[in-house]
């Protein structure tokens, strides 16, 4: 078996990461930029980086992901990448014709000291940016944070560099999407519509990375937040940031620049987090919650009550990204399951504190670690020491699930071997219902598989 090399004994490691539970910042920036309409993400670094990110996103979404590269050579690495980026901007606008180029840096361009702000200013001064077109940027060196913070940095760049205030407030609310799937963004829009709240959601990868088959390939699918929508975010009444790591920095930027007040909520995964989202929306937009949503909630609660016996006390190991792990852990606790091990490669004290707080109150014995050396190897070791009934995480978890022979639910990024995540939401009450269904199926399928003849039941 692939992971038979994992030893049970846990030793503190000084430098080594084995089987990472994170990846680097630029891919997050690329994903965020794809949620802007007519935008071509651009990787300012070696050509390999861009290819890795494109292929990972393509494999995750089974959709073509377009992005350009500065294609650094040895010369650029010595003399700086300004010439490459200026040439790139010219090539992109003349050949690929986007409305926006969203440039993100890499470890290479950051270390040699390329200043994206200065280079894009020069591009503008030199007339390389056609009238009505935009170049935005975000700093995303790979040696800081993770893919999640890279996403946050690009979303912040989008907020900072597009928003304007006209002095007249608009009756709308900004919803800043933390790292979530296009299906989740679609669900957030649907819920807002049901509530009757006008929102600007950004970024919005729905209709970009889940685009329908029309028989014709388009470079820029019809989805994505538009430039006028982004510009209007400075006039909005309020911002709701969904996710303290991946969305809040953009809300802070809008508050600083245009005094748009904000509040940060968890991504609405599970019953309680969705309750908070719906109540907050109803409060800030001053609308009442329609029966349609109340009924959705009721259906979820009904299933939770009916099926709780199968989930009660089940031990779960999970790994992934902060803004998803928090509400997901909370939901597992709401279902009376036991999160036994939690790992995230994304560093940061904020997340550590939030997770500790949740666990201290409801499950103090849970093993939790994030940041350096919080990797899948550690999680696997923990699983060997304290076995679980279920593993939840991205595709790489399948190795551990197979090795330990536990049921496995794919959740997070990347999912390279299944579909569904881009089409069926995890957020909202319907998303929570889907999660419950997945949890139940995983556990009950295993129960069926392992049941003795006399315990193999028709009705469960």
């Amino acid at each position: 078996m692939l992971l038979r090399h994992t030893s049970k004994e846990v030793k503190e490691r000084e430098g080594l990461t084995i089987n990472p539970a994170k990846t680097c910042q630029p891919i997050g920036a690329m994903y965020a930029a794809l949620g802007i309409h007519g935008c071509l993400p651009h990787s300012h670094g070696s050509q390999g980086c861009c290819s890795y990110h494109r292929s990972t996103l393509t494999r995750h979404y089974k959709e073509p992901v377009m992005a350009a590269t500065s294609s650094f050579t040895e010369g650029a690495s010595v003399f700086g990448g300004q010439a490459n980026l200026l040439a790139a901007i010219e090539t992109i606008f003349s050949v690929y014709e986007p409305d926006i180029i969203a440039v993100h840096s890499t470890c290479l361009s950051e270390t040699i000291g390329d200043d994206l702000q200065q280079i894009t200013r020069k591009a503008r001064d030199d007339g390389k940016i056609p009238e009505g077109k935009h170049v935005i940027f975000a700093s995303t060196p790979s040696f800081i944070g993770s893919h999640v913070t890279g996403y946050a940095n690009m979303v912040t760049g989008i907020a900072e560099q597009f928003s304007v205030s006209t002095g007249t407030k608009k009756n709308q609310i900004n919803i800043i999407a933390g790292w979530m799937e296009p299906s989740d963004m679609r669900e957030i829009k649907l819920l807002s519509k049901k509530l009757g709240v006008k929102i600007v959601l950004f970024p919005d990868t729905s209709n970009v990375l889940d685009a329908p088959q029309t028989g014709k390939h388009v470079f820029y699918p019809k989805g994505g937040t538009t430039i006028p929508e982004l510009q209007s975010t400075g006039d909005s009444l309020f911002s709701l940031a969904l996710g303290s790591i991946s969305a809040e920095p953009a809300a802070i930027a809008l508050e600083k620049k245009h005094k748009v007040a904000f509040e940060t909520l968890d991504i609405p995964i599970g019953l309680t987090a969705t309750d908070r989202f719906i109540m907050k929306m109803s409060e800030v937009a001053n609308v009442s919650v329609p029966d349609e949503i109340t009924d959705e909630r009721g259906r979820l609660v009904d299933v939770m009550a009916d099926m709780e016996q199968y989930l009660y006390g089940k031990r779960v190991a999970l790994f992934g990204d902060p803004d998803q792990l928090l509400p997901l852990t909370e939901f597992l606790l709401d279902l009376n399951m036991k999160p036994v091990h939690i790992v995230s490669g994304t560093p940061g004290q904020r997340f550590e504190k939030q997770m500790r707080q949740l666990l201290d109150a409801r499950s103090p014995e849970t093993n939790f670690r994030n940041g350096l050396q919080a990797d899948m190897f550690l999680l696997h070791q923990w699983m060997k020491n304290e076995p679980v009934d279920l593993l939840i995480g991205n595709t790489y978890g399948k190795y551990m699930a197979r090795d330990e022979d536990v049921p496995f639910i794919r959740f997070g990024f990347p999912i390279l071997d299944r579909i569904g995540h881009s089409y069926f939401p995890n957020v909202g009450y319907s998303g929570a219902l889907r999660l419950v269904e997945k949890l139940l199926s995983a556990i009950m399928d295993r129960q069926d598989r392992d049941a003795l003849e006399e315990k193999f039941e028709l009705v469960m």
Partner: protein
């Protein structure tokens, strides 16, 4: 039909076959243009894919986490034994390491890894950032090799230093350091190394079996289902048989120069090429005609089995035009012997010899 413009400077990377017109060679193997939507990988990726099938070594990526994350089990190369190559090891360089250097972290990581896994050797890949901050990887590798007693080999694969092909060469450099350090006692006169076969779906096992059936000893496979001990004694073989010529010709030439081992190029794609490979290898051992006899026997048996099922496809596909877009030119030859009229091909790495092979009456490039 909608006309698509070709990027300036890339005109020679495409050509249209026109009757009577002069056909220039296709350009290739240059970096992508700045600003192009490229799927081209980097030097590091080249090294990683060539070396990583060596299954009983550890492959430590010295750099930020992304380089290790994206190449984790990147091609699904399979092993019949240990599977250390399918794990992802990284020094996960942080800002402070970039400022103060990552040598200490590399040293500790290596010691931890070797203690944990007791590998036969370790490959250390440098990434872009390591090339910039100037970590002395050679020195760390020497130190760890001395302390642990296993070969610890630096792979100079900084991403910006060229194209994927330069990465192949960096990988071959590392392999050359291993080759020649093992005992060649007992190796048959009728022996080969299989070069440029990576066992992505178990092909190396099939090919190895053919050669063994012919009475030929396979000393090592570079690098599919690879083992360090086998690599170390590869210089004891009488012939190198190179399949993926883009990645391994350099190594074959080096081995020819240093150890006097001749090499031939083969292709295992399609019935014609596969058969020719076995015959070509047999021809290298004329003093033992049984080898050729065995090769003929294998080809005859396999074709007998294959031919009837191919007829169904042939009937369905005859006269159809195919557009082929590939990274590796060998893939195009896969279609040799099929009834397709090959219409379009595009690739990143192509050798002069391959250019010639493409210009058949049956194919357009």
């Amino acid at each position: 039909m909608e006309q698509i413009t070709i990027l300036e400077g890339r005109e020679n990377h495409l050509f249209e076959k026109k009757t009577g017109a002069v056909q220039p060679d296709i350009s290739c193997d240059t970096s992508s243009l700045s600003g192009s939507v490229s799927q081209r990988a980097c030097v590091f990726c080249g090294s990683r894919v060539v070396l990583y099938p060596v299954a009983d070594a550890i492959h430590l990526v010295h750099g930020p986490i992304g380089c290790a994350a994206y190449t984790w089990d990147i091609r699904g190369a399979v092993s019949s034994g240990p599977e250390l190559h399918r794990l992802s090891f990284s020094t996960d360089l942080q800002e402070m390491d970039v400022i103060y250097g990552g040598e200490k972290k590399l040293y500790h990581s290596l010691i931890e890894l070797i203690e944990q896994y007791k590998p036969k050797a370790a490959f250390i890949y440098s990434t872009c950032i390591v090339g910039l901050i100037g970590d002395d990887i050679e020195a760390v590798c020497r130190k760890v090799a001395n302390e642990t007693g296993i070969p610890v080999l630096p792979v100079h694969s900084e991403g910006f230093k060229g194209t994927k092909k330069d990465g192949y060469k960096a990988a071959c450099h590392a392999l050359m350091k291993l080759i020649g350090t093992g005992d060649t006692d007992g190796i048959s006169k009728y022996s080969i190394n299989i070069l440029g076969e990576f066992n992505l779906a178990g092909e190396a096992w099939i090919i190895r079996k053919y050669y063994e059936k012919m009475g030929i000893e396979v000393v090592s496979t570079l690098t599919g289902d690879g083992r360090i001990d086998a690599v170390k004694r590869a210089h004891g073989a009488s012939l190198n048989v190179v399949q993926c010529s883009g990645s391994m010709t350099w190594l074959a030439k080096e081995m020819e120069e240093k150890y006097g081992i001749p090499y031939i190029r083969v292709s295992y794609f399609g019935i014609e090429d596969m058969s020719k490979s076995l015959y070509d290898v047999a021809k290298e051992f004329p003093e033992r005609p049984e080898i050729m006899e065995a090769a003929k026997q294998i080809v005859s048996e396999e074709v007998k089995q294959l031919y009837p099922s191919l007829q169904k496809f042939k009937k369905a596909l005859t006269g159809k035009k195919a557009a082929i877009y590939v990274r590796c030119i060998q893939d195009i030859f896969t279609h040799q012997g099929t009834p397709f009229h090959r219409h379009v091909g595009s690739t990143c790495r192509i050798t002069d010899r391959q250019q010639g092979r493409l210009r058949t009456p049956q194919g357009d490039v």
